[in-house]
């Protein structure tokens, strides 16, 4: 799709030729993840997480379809269908359930690494803005899906998570409360809410899969980025996806899945809350409501508004939480620096790592009980999060002097990182690298 030297699909078997002439599906697959997709030759291991995310989506869909065969979506039956039927009676049910439960966590882990890779290497910049934005859409859909899935076992955390999260709607002025009641189909989470969450939890992963196809489609127009951020110039800069990257992704997926399988087998409940093994009780809130780990930073932002300021504190919290993600949609226009890769941006690189620490701190605060110290730390960290995107990034991209970029991907690979950042020997080269930096 992307480069003129991409190998066209040539069916070898007569059956494939017959199919290709009528429905060119093998051609599409060959061009997307086969030998017909040229990929920069210098990708590092951070580039493996896109394929891994696809693998985890597949694991979630497969285990989810099977679990739905045994699950009962009713307030009387849900808890038992999960904790008695699936966990004890169904053959291998415990494995499928733990695989699904931990699969969600690993899916998020992989996607977070994938997102931060994009942040570091400027993957959101032109011409890949839509790739980035579609990725954010996937991420939002994942959060909705994970939330609704977490409600399904109808334990205490399920119930109170549903209560707290649907109450976000009630922060909206005027229409908020009617909207919340409409979303729940009642005044509090109950049968109606549980069954609709189940229906949507089954539907959304397929929507995610559809957006993933758009995400990959949009990516394959300019082709994959690479750690130098320098554009592909000729055929020497690329390798065909198959067999080179299928092999690399394959072995890395096997290694990473080992990590997943170890947690699933030996620490299946490590990432979950023990409160969810208590059946839902609409009359008593657990002492501490904590979302799953992957939502903690947002929970900390939500909680960091404690006083009214023009608008009610509750509305501020909800607005801040949603805008913390929504502002990422504007990132391609917030960070105006023409240099993509953080490797060549000395100032940007430091602030990137500060942001990583900031998000980890937010996660820690989100998981801690409400105390004056955690609230204060959370407020500082939440403020810094917005400061990073709204003030620091625009300023850095304006005043930073980037390091000289390599002439090409091939040169950076063959000369190693030292030659990469040193001024090129010939004056002609220097001029060229200066224009590359300015691009």
């Amino acid at each position: 799709m992307s480069f003129s030297w991409a190998k066209p699909y040539e069916p070898k078997h007569p059956v494939m030729r017959w199919l290709d002439e009528r429905l060119p599906l093998p051609r599409v697959i060959y061009g997307a993840i086969g030998g017909g997709y040229p990929v920069p030759r210098n990708l590092n291991y951070w580039w493996n997480f896109g394929v891994l995310a696809g693998i985890f989506l597949t694991i979630q869909i497969l285990t989810g379809i099977v679990l739905a065969m045994h699950y009962t979506a009713s307030t009387d039956g849900a808890f038992n269908s999960v904790n008695q039927l699936i966990m004890r009676d169904v053959n291998a049910g415990w494995l499928l359930r733990y695989a699904h439960m931990n699969g969600a966590s690993f899916f998020f882990l992989v996607v977070y690494i994938h997102i931060f890779r994009g942040l570091y290497y400027g993957s959101y910049k032109a011409p890949r803005e839509l790739v980035w934005m579609l990725g954010l859409v996937i991420y939002l859909l994942m959060m909705a899906t994970a939330f609704m899935g977490y409600v399904l076992p109808w334990g205490q955390m399920s119930y109170w998570g549903a209560q707290v999260i649907t109450n976000f709607f009630s922060a909206i002025p005027v229409i908020g409360e009617p909207l919340r009641i409409w979303v729940l189909g009642g005044y509090a989470p109950d049968e109606a809410a549980l069954t609709r969450f189940f229906s949507l939890h089954y539907l959304l992963p397929f929507i995610i899969a559809a957006v993933v196809i758009l995400h990959i489609w949009a990516l394959h127009i300019p082709g994959s980025g690479n750690p130098t951020g320098v554009d592909v110039k000729d055929e020497r800069d690329t390798l065909p996806f198959h067999p080179y990257y299928t092999a690399k992704d394959g072995w890395f997926a096997a290694a990473f899945l080992l990590f997943y399988v170890i947690v699933t087998y030996f620490l299946p409940n490590y990432l979950g809350s023990p409160d969810n093994y208590t059946p839902a009780n609409p009359l008593a809130t657990p002492a501490e409501i904590v979302p799953e780990w992957y939502l903690l930073p947002f929970y900390a932002i939500l909680r960091s508004f404690t006083a009214d300021f023009i608008l009610p504190a509750k509305l501020w919290g909800v607005l801040a939480m949603f805008s913390s993600i929504l502002l990422l949609f504007f990132l391609p226009w917030i960070d105006k620096s023409p240099v993509r890769s953080g490797t060549y941006r000395p100032l940007f690189k430091r602030f990137f790592w500060l942001l990583v620490i900031d998000v980890l701190v937010l996660g820690w605060v989100g998981g801690s009980p409400v105390k004056p110290l955690t609230v204060a730390v959370g407020q500082i960290a939440a403020a810094y999060y917005f400061l990073h995107f709204l003030v620091i990034l625009p300023l850095v991209s304006r005043f930073e002097t980037p390091l000289p970029l390599p002439m090409s991907i091939t040169e950076s690979v063959l000369h190693g990182s030292e030659a990469e950042v040193a001024p090129a020997p010939k004056t002609q080269r220097r001029a060229k690298s200066a224009t590359a930096a300015a691009e």
Partner: protein
């Protein structure tokens, strides 16, 4: 129907060469047809939306009768109304005095205890047990639970503090605990969810 539409289209195409009626008639037909189908589509989609609203069986649970004869001053019970907890608390004279002593200007959601109770039943504070922040059940109704700084209720989720009239005093909640409609059917029973016309 189909043949009629086709025959109406026939002259429109030939008449459409100039700027005359034909073109306008075609436009009218297009707008009319699309608008008709559009209204039809909206009507057809409506059930998909209204099915989400609370169903008749949920709405049918709109009143609950509670016996309050056993509640001693200074304690309270948790009842259930519309699947949500309701706090029924028998205030002590000291708690009533504390609530009355607070100037309204200090409150985020200014209301007096009188406005939050029924006339002649100032000691019966009946509110939803649903924190107005994000819907947790605050502590303080059960024996020995943390009642927070102001002696009313304390929400463990995000730290909202309510006073003895269940008014928000500190923390992220925007409103006082909601006072549902209720009425005393006898001196020792309340009907929650009904305004009562006696």
């Amino acid at each position: 129907m189909a043949t009629k539409a086709q025959s109406a289209e026939g002259p429109a195409v030939t008449g459409g060469d100039g700027e005359g009626e034909g073109l306008r008639r075609r436009d009218y037909l297009k707008v009319g047809a699309v608008a008709f189908a559009g209204v039809g589509a909206v009507v057809a989609i409506a059930p998909l939306f209204v099915q989400m609203a609370p169903s008749a069986d949920v709405l049918a649970l709109s009143t609950t009768e509670v016996d309050i004869s056993k509640i001693q001053p200074g304690s309270g019970i948790k009842a259930q109304w519309r699947k949500q907890p309701v706090f029924i608390r028998n205030l002590t004279p000291k708690e009533i005095a504390e609530a009355d002593a607070v100037p309204l200007s200090e409150l985020r959601d200014p209301q007096t205890l009188e406005e939050r109770t029924l006339p002649g039943h100032k000691n019966w504070l009946i509110t939803l047990g649903v924190c107005t922040h994000l819907g947790c059940v605050p502590l303080g109704i059960g024996e020995g639970e943390n009642r927070g700084k102001y002696g009313g209720y304390f929400c463990p989720c995000h730290g909202s503090q309510y006073d003895t009239a269940a008014r928000i005093r500190q923390g992220p909640a925007p409103k006082n605990l909601f006072v549902p409609d209720y009425t005393f059917t006898t001196p020792t029973t309340v009907l929650i969810g009904s305004k009562g016309k006696k």
